[in-house]
Symmetry: C2
Subunit: 506 residues, 2 copies
């Protein structure tokens, strides 16, 4: 972060910075409108909001896809040796964004967006009725257009189609490696799962704390949890939405969760997860704010930061040493259900289940492996949309030994495919693996991290994450960053070790 | 509203509609970010939000000030006879917007914006310390740049400087007429005020209801009041902010107020006032949404709609026939302080005071007359900023017989001048006069309006306002609209009659 932004570099590069700065600011405005739509907006505002957001997206796209940008990129490519490493990385990311923006013709972009909107509406109805046939034609249209866009991107990026689609979420993703990492886990899972379930069965069942858990108390508790992770509410908000998410900008994080008075673990873990995302954004280098290199690296590292907090840290025994009494105090409760050991036991229950977003840490990757296999096959033309429900159900039996009784809890459960987001799913589990790898390296580098967590002090953890992950933004590839931080490229080994330790007592 | 938008008209006009549609959508996005900044944003987000909003404003300005727009306007001006009345009015408003956007050179726009930002910051400190000297140099800079911009606009619009500045808030405003209307009221005020105070003194003092008034109850009550006016909360929100305002879009009104538990009249009247603004926006013609002719006519008519609801209707005896028992029920209260007569008496107290935003209906115009005199003199170079405090205090003595003990409750009370908004103040009182004129015409046209109000039914009132004001948007000038609706151009007579009836029992 000692880059001299005032060094004598070329005008075309500066001009590119100006254009990308404007795109970034439009993106921030669009993001805030999206946050409002999820958190505040009355239903009557939806159509007008869609128009507003579409206008901003079109303007940003026009700005980026303008032929002047192509000419400037061409110019700068001949003097890239004069750029410092951050500028060169910024130039590389500008080029990537421009390739994505220009690869797909405007009418195909618009057609994809319309098809996704129609499919999303159809999906809501189809899921409610557990009726895949109501979605099928819409999903076929989305898939056909996504294949077309993928082919265009593959040509522009000189990469296989599925890799080119993944590149939007995980830059430079190599599907062969991604698949080998995920399939490695698929091979490891059956034995681990049996052992974990057996280990769990040998322990006494944890006691469920007695509810109800008043929502006003949960709100205060969740706010305290976010503050403990490091969120400063002078530059953040905690609100409620149907699905928890983290939005806003580094100086104004917008975290959401949802509350039910029959439990507090989900709302609390939701806030901790989203706080991990927000801390990443808040730790991005201010000097590169509004430039592509200043953005989070990709969805793998983003998810690694939320899972670092939620899974690696906040489902650890150490965390509950601190948190259990805090939680019990919040609910003015006491007794054996509220001990650190019992609460920790509750937080790490393993049980194969049908719904991805409710899955535990051990079985979650199975849900991702299934989706990755299926979406690759669909993109490659090896699986017809009409065969998806059967392939899904067979896959669930093969991976987790359970068959969905209907498509609502099967292949209709996620919005990603109707939305056209093929290539996104793998990043959830790659993120879990990166989190385990980073957590192991952090603990090895600073033995005080976990003892501090046991006192509710996230300072040492953040002191390691900030220079090793957050501050690096998009300077390096995901693998290069992981090698610098952990000595290894992305792999499943640290994650497997973590699971063995946590779920087998190994 | 039977305009055929598909009639065979020229391509350049259609192209202009597209450009203005985009500007309108950017404006809506900017407005929503402004609402969030006032209602939700943590303080840490301010700098980033300013960047986001500035970027959107610059993009909208670039779009509008593009020379292509000038060429298109030129083209359409030669075939304006082929446009229907709504299209022709739309073209007229496009031209006005373009003249405002292009009249002032970009560096002067930027300098004004920077000077206003600096002056606003200085004003907050100066007001807190009651120290005008801390604001003076900043206000001098703002005034000098406003004069310069006003001269540029005067040239473009071929109008006097002060008129050209007013035009931004009140299209086609003629300062000579505005001044004659306001000075007419200034001449009328002393006698009316004496008589109103004497009349008031002859009546028993109204009883103050005993508080505290729990804020959760006020929230429910205010929501009920807005719904009674006609706000549908499937497409509206009611929130809290430092200063009440009405924002959002027609399908998603964002009304705010503020609550203190020692009184409920202010929060309730704030919501009723802002509901009047929102009902105007909600009644604008959907067919012309996103076009200049589809916007509210100007600040005079906008303020007429808020004051129609707050002052003309909701401080009437009829309104309290319905509202007093509703309010008493909300607070589970009873007794002589909660009768319609007593609550009405509280809502129409007259007392000369120092602060504009706290002024009653009778003395409010005096605050406006003072500001209009002073700002015209400053713009014309007849009053130096250094002489403002003295001129202000002398003016208050002359108009209302009270001398501010310091500048905090004198010339430092409003943000408008530091903000560069010269020419805005008159619209508050012109709005009050338009409201009285429209209310008289409405009552004469439908004798059921006030009896319905006494039952909490705003239907007949809105049934008159919708075609006579709301649906006309910017089709006509303010005066032409008032002539169609009331038979008269804007004047003070109906307002004077209203005050005589309400405050003298005439």
């Amino acid at each position: 972060m000692t880059t001299d932004r005032n060094s004598n570099i070329t005008a075309p590069y500066r001009r590119l910075e100006e254009i990308f700065r404007r795109c970034a600011l439009i993106g921030e405005a669009t993001g805030m409108l999206g946050w409002d739509a999820s958190v505040n907006m009355p239903p009557g505002g939806a159509a007008a909001r869609a128009e507003q957001m579409a206008t901003l997206r079109v303007m940003s796209h026009e700005l980026l896809a303008d032929h002047a940008v192509g000419a400037l990129l061409e110019e700068v490519s001949s003097i890239v040796g004069q750029l410092d490493p951050w500028q060169a990385a910024n130039f590389r990311e500008m080029r990537r964004a421009w390739l994505h923006a220009t690869a797909v013709p405007g009418d195909l972009v618009a057609a994809r967006s319309r098809a996704a909107a129609a499919a999303e509406t159809a999906w809501r109805g189809a899921r409610a009725d557990a009726d895949f046939s109501a979605l099928q034609p819409f999903l076929e249209e989305v898939l056909a257009l996504t294949q077309k866009a993928g082919q265009a991107k593959a040509e522009a990026l000189n990469r296989p189609v599925y890799d080119a689609l993944m590149d939007e979420y995980e830059p430079d993703a190599d599907s062969a490696r991604v698949v080998s990492i995920l399939e490695d886990y698929a091979a490891f899972l059956p034995e681990l799962l049996d052992a974990a379930l057996a280990h769990q069965a040998r322990m006494p069942d944890p006691l469920p704390p007695a509810g109800p858990f008043p929502i006003p108390v949960q709100r205060v508790l969740c706010r305290q949890m976010a503050e403990t992770v490091g969120i400063d509410f002078n530059s953040a908000r905690l609100d409620e939405s149907l699905h928890p998410f983290s939005g806003g900008v580094p100086e104004d994080s917008r975290i959401t969760t949802r509350y039910h008075d029959d439990g507090f673990i989900d709302s609390m873990m939701g806030v901790l997860h989203e706080s991990g995302h927000a801390m990443y954004e808040r730790g991005l280098p201010a000097a590169w704010r509004y430039q592509p290199v200043g953005d989070a690296r990709g969805m793998t590292l983003h998810e690694s930061q939320s899972l670092m907090i939620e899974m690696q840290i906040c489902r650890s025994r150490e965390f509950f040493e601190w948190a259990a009494p805090v939680i019990a105090h919040a609910f003015a409760a006491e007794g054996p259900a509220w001990t650190p050991a019992n609460m920790h036991g509750l937080a790490i229950r393993v049980e194969p289940s049908l719904i991805r977003v409710e899955a535990d840490e051990v079985t979650y990757p199975a849900h991702i492996i299934l989706r990755t296999r299926l979406e690759r096959a669909m993109i490659d033309g090896d699986l017809a949309v009409s065969d998806l429900p059967g392939a899904w159900n067979d896959g669930m039996v093969a991976l987790l030994g359970i068959r969905p009784p209907n498509d609502r809890v099967g292949c209709l459960q996620d919005i990603h495919w109707p939305d056209g987001a093929f290539g996104y799913f793998p990043t959830y589990s790659l993120g879990a693996m990166a989190a385990a790898q980073l957590a192991a390296a952090a603990r090895a580098a600073d033995r005080e991290i976990m003892p501090a967590i046991a006192k509710g002090d996230f300072g040492p953890l953040m002191a390691w994450l900030r220079p090793n992950v957050h501050n690096k933004a998009s300077l390096l590839s995901t693998d290069a960053l992981l090698i610098e931080a952990t000595g290894q490229p992305l792999g499943a080994e640290a994650f497997k070790d973590h699971l063995r330790r946590r779920y087998l007592g190994a």
